[in-house]
């Protein structure tokens, strides 16, 4: 179904992409049962731990736009994540050698009386103050559970201010209770950008490549790499300007570092403005990078140049890769990450010679916005040996149980607050926080050495695990890790 950027809010992933947060099976099972024409139903949990919500994801992207501002129409706690976003903002500024500034965000600070009389006045104040304080080129109004339940007419209030605030003021519907799939917040942010910021192309720019990512730590390398074949990457959304976002429609192609992140924006740019969206598996590791770059070559008609590029880059790391594989042979691992990373990092670990015992994904989209199964799922199902696989919105108690049972050498995780628990169990934990961690050929090798180092000294986790205990009863470790998942309903 084509994306409609004119409707007020994007449908949640559970409906749009048949996203799952409850599943236990294997990679091959998942791939087969979610292949075109098939789908599986979600299994609900009767016990869960606090996860994350869509407003966090929306604000992560929007707070990074350099000359925009975010007005969070909510009680002050909903900006709790702004501290982390500011850390990430400083981290990105550090990588670019820029002076530090704080994220442009305000809370409307909703209180008890607003839940009775509505929060319209506060929202008006918030928008006016954001405009006065930051002189932004655009303002994004993010909603909250409180503003959503009491039914504040965000669009109506924005419309009233049209004459007064001469810039785009855009609602971003990201009430936490709407979805269990926090990545829906990415879509909400992109929906707002697509509907009110992106302009129709004035002229096509055959050099420009949109790269959808988070903080862009690899931007120097990518700029150099693409420069060799006459392409110019523009990194979105964080650290882009509003003007750069306006021009996304003029690009020759769109790439994404993460399929979960890029699905909605990439597909919409393709459908609406004819910008080809590269739907390959993500550029994690060597195989992923092959498919990412090949996809790009095909999209921009530079197949031969890309082939040459791949050859050179790959050649450079072969010797080291062999050394790493020798060092990591026989090592076992479990992995837990968001779906844009989980399946492709299974392949990264394959490439490094690590034996993967289990993969967990924080959610899973049975299809992407372009209608097909994620390429990485199709590709990983072709692997000889199947890998047990589960889906849960970062349920640490399940992972703890799994790790207790499997006792791997390594646990790989992605998401703040997910890695430490494995370390407390005495398992060497390697977090994948930067989205460019195992990026391509060089990233794969760097990641490999990082793992070798992590295994070279296990004393911290050994000492820690002897002295701390997890907050779970023994009873729990005697159960199946997916004890609290309801039976699957017949589809």
């Amino acid at each position: 179904m084509a994306i409609n950027t004119t409707i007020s809010e994007v449908p949640i992933r559970e409906r749009r992409l048949k996203a799952l947060t409850g599943y236990s099976g294997s990679v091959k099972d998942l791939a087969a049962r979610t292949s075109p024409g098939c789908s599986i139903t979600n299994r609900e949990r009767s016990f869960s731990q606090t996860s994350s919500c869509s407003s966090g994801c929306a604000q992560t992207l929007l707070s990074g736009i350099l000359d925009a501002a975010v007005v969070n129409h909510a009680p002050v706690g909903c900006l709790g994540d702004s501290l982390y976003q500011n850390i990430a903002h400083h981290y990105g500024q550090f990588h670019r050698g820029w002076a530090y500034s704080n994220v442009n965000m305000v809370s409307t600070n909703m209180g008890e009386s607003d839940t009775v009389f509505g929060g319209a006045d506060r929202l008006r104040d918030g928008i006016r103050e954001a405009y006065r304080r930051f002189s932004p080129k655009a303002i994004f109004v993010t909603t909250s559970c409180a503003s959503g339940i009491i039914g504040d007419d965000v669009q109506g209030i924005i419309d009233e201010l049209k004459g007064e605030i001469p810039i785009p003021v855009v609602p971003v519907h990201c009430e936490g209770f709407r979805t269990k799939v926090w990545a829906t917040g990415f879509d909400a942010a992109f929906h707002a950008i697509l509907g009110s910021i992106v302009k129709p192309p004035q002229r096509k720019n055959p050099e420009r490549i949109n790269i959808i990512n988070f903080r862009g730590s690899a931007r120097v390398y990518i700029t150099e790499l693409f420069g060799r074949i006459g392409l110019k990457p523009v990194f979105v959304v964080p650290f882009a300007t509003v003007a750069e976002l306006e021009g996304m429609s003029e690009a020759a192609a769109t790439l994404t570092i993460c399929g979960t992140l890029g699905s909605y924006l990439g597909t919409a740019l393709e459908e609406k403005y004819g910008v080809p969206y590269v739907k390959s598996s993500p550029p994690h590791g060597s195989v992923g990078m092959d498919s990412w770059l090949t996809g790009l070559g095909r999209a921009v008609g530079k197949e031969l140049e890309i082939e040459q590029l791949i050859r050179t880059e790959k050649q450079a790391v072969q010797g080291e890769l062999a050394q790493i594989r020798a060092r990591l042979s026989g090592i076992t691992a479990v992995l837990g990450m968001g779906p844009g990373f989980s399946l492709s990092y299974l392949r990264v670990l394959d490439e490094l010679g690590i034996k993967v015992l289990y993969g967990a994904s924080w959610h899973y989209d049975q299809q992407y916005d372009h209608g097909a199964q994620p390429a990485i799922t199709t590709e990983m199902a072709l692997r000889d040996e199947d890998i047990p696989f589960s889906i849960g919105e970062q349920q640490n108690y399940e992972i703890a149980n799994l790790l207790n049972e499997l006792k791997p050498d390594l646990y790989f995780s992605r998401h703040p607050g997910s890695s430490v628990w494995a370390a407390k169990q005495g398992i060497v934990t390697v977090p994948v926080m930067d989205e460019y961690t195992a990026f391509g050929y060089h990233g794969l090798v760097n990641f490999g050495w990082r793992i070798v180092d992590a295994l070279a000294n296990r004393r911290f986790v050994t000492n820690l695990s002897r002295r701390v205990r997890l907050p779970y009863q023994d009873w729990w470790f005697e159960q199946n890790p997916y004890h609290f998942l309801a039976e699957e309903e017949a589809a």
């Binding site: 016990f47 709790g80 409307t108 600070n109 103050e129 907050p471």
Partner: protein, 438 residues
């Protein structure tokens, strides 16, 4: 005046979940949307001194992760199921159910659900902390109201010398753990038995011991006043209030004398402790004096941006122990109106020595605007949050992050409380000054 908040310095009432995790082996269960726990933990713990998940915090906190279904049809069943299974999975001594906006707006009867478990002997209490009701200081006081009403029991006897310590807000103040230990040590030195409630080695036993204390020590200008009054009402335990967090020798000695006088401790005992501590303190301060008087980078004027009690303590230390000049004091803990006048007076009394404007605000934009309007002839010292480093750099001042968010420092057992705390603060300030040019 606009009520918007830029650069948040506290969170919503549900932030009280971190006060629960500060009690050893206590487990919060939150009845809220899926993102509340993560956001509040990010702000209060992880992004604030990297205080960690602890035993059962962060993403280990049981949560109903309420979605549309619980909004439309009510979330009581989901809550019941979450509690039931929490009791099977989680290993804790005390369970505290805290609600978020979703449950409180739709009007779930949390109390009813929780009482059924309580009646079966489960150590469990509930508190309605929907984020719209107030900030985390407010939520923290609600939590104690609930614990006093729903958990504490009449004591068999009052234990002479036992003192409950009500002071900094755990996690909101990233230095809370070592600050409490330090206050505990000060009290022990004059012969009292501190009951610290939060932190390592305290736990549910410490909570249950609260009603048998001889008195409650309230070491803040206003936070917890409701709590100690409630305890007085319920258990007839009197309280003694000392508004400033004692930082450095002047305040620590003053604090010890005051609390000893209240508790009826022999003045000779107290003076002996003070003499010993001050001698040690000035052994180190004498060493530092060479640097203080010979550095070309001595900050003339300082600004504090912190909770009222902490700002007061810091300011008194900087004036009395380091000899600096206050320029402005920003108080960011959303002090209830009825306490403002008293706090302002504390900042301008004879102990504070040098009067300075006191600005009550939780909004970083207001703080920035006021600071931009000030004139500095020398580089100012600004003790505030990581947010405030941006404006401090613009002024070529010296920034030290001491209040939420402290995201540029790892905080473990550091504290600025007590005699040693003053020395530590002097070290930290001058390390920043010396680092700024080499």
């Amino acid at each position: 005046m606009s009520d918007v908040i830029e650069q948040i310095r506290n969170v919503c009432a549900l932030g009280a979940l971190q006060s629960v995790t500060a009690i050893e082996r206590a487990i919060p269960i939150i009845h809220a949307g899926p993102g509340c726990g993560q956001k509040l933990w990010s702000a209060l713990s992880s992004g604030n001194g990297f205080q960690g998940s602890g035993y059962a915090g962060g993403h280990a906190v049981p949560c109903s992760n309420s979605t549309e279904n619980e909004i439309v049809f009510g979330g009581e069943d989901k809550l019941r199921e979450t509690i039931e299974n929490s009791l099977k999975v989680m290993d804790g001594d005390l369970f505290v159910v805290l609600t978020g906006c979703t449950a409180d707006i739709v009007g779930d009867d949390t109390g009813d659900v929780v009482r059924q478990f309580k009646n079966n002997g489960v150590p469990i209490v509930h508190v309605e902390t929907g984020g719209f009701k107030g900030n985390n200081y407010f939520g923290h006081e609600l939590l104690w109201e609930a614990l006093i009403e729903q958990l504490l029991e009449d004591p068999e006897e009052v234990q002479p010398g036992l003192v409950n310590v009500w002071s900094v807000l755990p996690y909101q103040d990233p230095f809370w753990a070592a600050t409490l230990e330090t206050i505990g040590r000060l009290l022990s030195q004059i012969g009292l038995t501190p009951n610290l409630i939060y932190g390592q080695g305290q736990g549910i036993a410490s909570v249950r011991r609260i009603p048998s204390a001889q008195f409650n020590l309230l070491l803040t200008p206003w936070l917890g006043l409701k709590t100690v009054k409630h305890l007085e009402e319920r258990f007839a335990t009197p309280y003694f209030q000392y508004p400033a967090l004692p930082v450095g020798a002047t305040e620590s000695s003053r604090f010890l004398r005051a609390v000893a006088a209240y508790a009826g401790i022999d003045a000779d005992v107290v003076e002996a402790v003070i003499e010993r501590e001050e001698k040690r303190y000035y052994y180190y301060m004498e060493r530092a004096a060479d640097l203080f008087f010979e550095t070309r980078f001595k900050p003339g004027h300082f600004i504090t941006i912190a909770d009222s009690g902490f700002a007061l303590g810091l300011s008194r230390f900087l004036v009395n122990d380091l000899g600096l000049i206050p320029e402005a004091q920003f108080v960011t803990d959303k002090v209830p109106d009825e306490h403002k006048e008293k706090i302002e007076a504390e900042f301008n009394d004879s102990v504070a020595g040098i009067p300075s404007p006191v600005i009550f605000t939780t909004d970083g934009g207001t703080i920035r605007d006021v600071i931009k309007g000030l004139k500095f002839r020398e580089r100012p010292l600004i003790l505030g949050s990581t947010w405030d480093k941006v404006i401090t750099r613009e002024l070529q001042g010296y920034p030290l992050s001491i209040s939420l968010p402290v995201s540029d420092r790892l905080v473990l057992n550091r504290t600025y409380a007590g005699y040693d705390g003053g020395l530590t603060l002097a070290e930290d300030i001058y390390t920043i000054i010396l680092n700024s040019f080499q």
